[in-house]
């Protein structure tokens, strides 16, 4: 037994060292990376005096709306705060809580089943914009699974980066399917760099959901309470989603929608099918709209939100 336990301990120690080595965030302080756009977005947001309109969520919002057009239409200053679903729902809600003030309008449009952050993007964002340190969640003991997930995701990211580098070195591949730079955004906070680029052959993230009650509802309700107490208008908007992925998940999304309708304490102002477009209208994932559908979505979004911004 002693020999076994000693072996297990030595094995675990070496494994722990390797995990630490392989899960370090080597790209953490890259200048001008995608999430560093958070600084520009908040500079814009803070430059307005009166009531403001904010769009929040993951990259489905970042890639898929034309904020300039919305601003022109509703005659209120618009900032697209959305960057990446990998920042996680906790980070986004905390960001809104810290940023919104009385009279503001928030349209929250998270991806389906959005939960905790990935790839340590929240830390990267906080590196670029120190104010965002306040948005970071302090992990409690029952968040241990999240901590483990974070390590795993970072290792996956490191693997992807390594494989990309190797493939470029070996095959000279121009594998540039993501728009991973601060320069991808316009002054409103929308990602625009993809609009004139050819789309990759296939779109990613087309997965089948397994129904579960989304614990994001409870988290949004906490923000709803804060918004109510502080005169902030908070609304829930369903994200865009590719037709094929929507069809696969239709039954689950229906139940998800019912849960929101029953339990969410803020108005849900549209339906999931409102922003469903053919797969060919998407750029690289089931959430990233290309030019044409981005325009269609923007027009529809304006018609949906306009009555609420006149309150």
């Amino acid at each position: 037994m002693k020999k076994f336990l000693v072996s297990v301990i030595i094995f675990s120690v070496i494994l722990g060292g390797l995990v630490a080595l392989l899960s370090a965030n080597y790209a953490k302080s890259a200048e001008g990376n995608f999430v560093s756009a958070i600084r520009l977005k908040h500079e814009r947001l803070n430059s307005f005096k009166g009531p403001r309109v904010m769009f929040a969520g993951g990259s489905n919002v970042a890639y898929g709306i034309d904020s300039r057009e919305i601003e022109d239409s509703i005659k209120l200053p618009v900032t697209n705060l959305a960057i990446h679903a990998g920042l996680g729902l906790d980070f986004m809600l905390s960001e809104l809580k810290h940023s919104a003030r009385k009279g503001d309008y928030i349209f929250l449009s998270p991806e389906y089943y959005l939960d905790e952050g990935r790839y340590k993007l929240d830390e990267e964002a906080a590196d670029s914009y120190p104010e965002a340190k306040h948005y970071l969640k302090n992990l409690a003991i029952n968040d241990f699974p999240i901590f483990v997930d974070g390590i795993i995701e970072q290792m996956k990211t490191n693997k992807d980066v390594l494989f990309d580098k190797l493939s470029k070195k070996m095959f000279g591949a121009k594998k540039e399917t993501t728009i991973a730079s601060i320069t991808s955004f316009n002054e409103y906070g929308d990602v625009v760099a993809h609009l004139n680029r050819p789309a990759p052959a296939t779109i990613k993230d087309k997965k089948a959901f397994e129904y579960r009650y989304w614990d994001g509802i409870q988290k949004i309700n906490a923000l709803a309470q804060y918004a109510k107490e502080n005169g902030i208008h908070l609304y829930f908007v369903f994200p865009t989603y590719s037709r094929n992925a929507y069809t696969i998940n239709k039954a689950v999304i229906k139940r998800y929608q019912n849960d929101l309708a029953t339990n969410l304490q803020i108005p849900v102002i549209n339906a999931p099918e409102d922003f469903v477009y053919d797969d060919s209208e998407y750029y690289d994932t089931v959430y990233h709209l290309r030019k044409n559908a981005r325009e269609l979505r923007t027009q529809k979004l304006i018609s949906i939100i306009k009555p609420y911004t006149m309150l």
């Binding site: 087309k206 997965k207 089948a208």
Partner: protein, 478 residues
Amino acid sequence: MLFNSLEFAIFLPIVFFLYWFAGKGNTRLQNIIILFASLFFYGCWDYRFLFLLSFSILLDFYSGIKISEATTPRSKKLWLITSITINLGFLLFFKYYNFFVQSFADMLLNFGLQANVWTLRIILPVGISFYTFHGLSYVIDIYKGRSAPTRNLIDYSVFVSFFPLLVAGPIERASHLLPQVQQPRTFTFEKASDGLRQILWGLFKKIVIADVSAMYANEIFSSNANLHASTRVLGAILFAFQIYGDFSGYSDIALGTARLLGFELLKNFNYPYFSRDIAEFWRRWHISLSSWFKDYVYIPLGGSRGGKLQAVRNTFIIFLLSGFWHGANWTFIFWGGLNAVYFLPLLLFNRNRNNIEIVAKGQTLPSFRELTAMLITFAQVTFAWIFFRAESLGYAFHYIKGMFSKTLLSTPEVFPKTQLVIIAIFLVIEWMGREQPYAIAGMTVQIPRPVRWSFYFMIIFAIVIFKGSPQQFIYFQF
């Protein structure tokens, strides 16, 4: 609590330490620890079903004693029938009630009669098919005089509820496991490290091979789009690896966990995808279920003793039963029937025992003939898996129809290159280790520790980096 969950990663070391340290040298105390651990493990799914499990344990324990004590053949038989009826009654009710009612209503509808059927919202208790079969084999063996009953309720409870095998087997026999429960277990370094190694391999199969293949197979099987024929073929192949990685991975974890606690469970898989004919496949796939049906159904029905016709009849019976055992759906029954059809020519021409030894034993590569035979068998099995995977027979035929078109040679719309490379590497490792109890069992002390450990680290990192979204073990629903 799933084997591939964080909860199990905490649960197992706690049980291990309590078992070997607190229960040191005291078999009774060790058995009590296992029993509580097993009930906790099972209760994590739904504590209400603990009552059902306990009832099943008490029923068979008591029936076993009564059968052995019975003085007349009639009372012996009465106790056996009582036990079988109640056991199968529960199984039929929980698993098949709605199926029978709905099928009856559908049949009436065919005759133009509309029936308002009364279906129930029944939750299927996890593992009911497995522990029911444990109990049945116990009482039948006592009735047949093949084993003696135990009078120790704790020992018997451990036999039925032993947590590594409780929810998805292997289906153990009392004659194999009960003596191990009753006798002292000794800890050895070799056994324990072998157990850990098998757990690691099982996790790799489940998390990397099964779960990732499942992501793509689900996408293909659930797509309503007009997919290329090549995509559908790929979907079926990915499902073949999903179900193999899922179930054999589970069995590896179960066997490894049991070995950590000093137990040896029955081997459940023996490289089935390297089989050269369907008979060999069924000797290598879910071995504990196949042998159960053989011992408790096929042989009592007369086996092949009454000539070809009887052998054919009995073969169809056990394949159809096996299909039905898997679930209350015509797809499973059809899957069972199709396998019986595959089996038929082998049986008729006495070729069903042609391939007993593992393929290309002692050689590095198979012959061309062996390779062809393996590929044909794999194709047959994969084709049958479509029925197993499909939601309905109609969908299965629709799916198959889509596999035969001009687009068979075009690039599949869903083409997971990385996963296919991983499956290829996995097959190479399985091939190299095919004469071992499990593929990496040869990684023993003969190989220098740095090499061995580097290999383990690579598997661990492969699990972490390539893991797919967690999927329920397929066989839990059975």
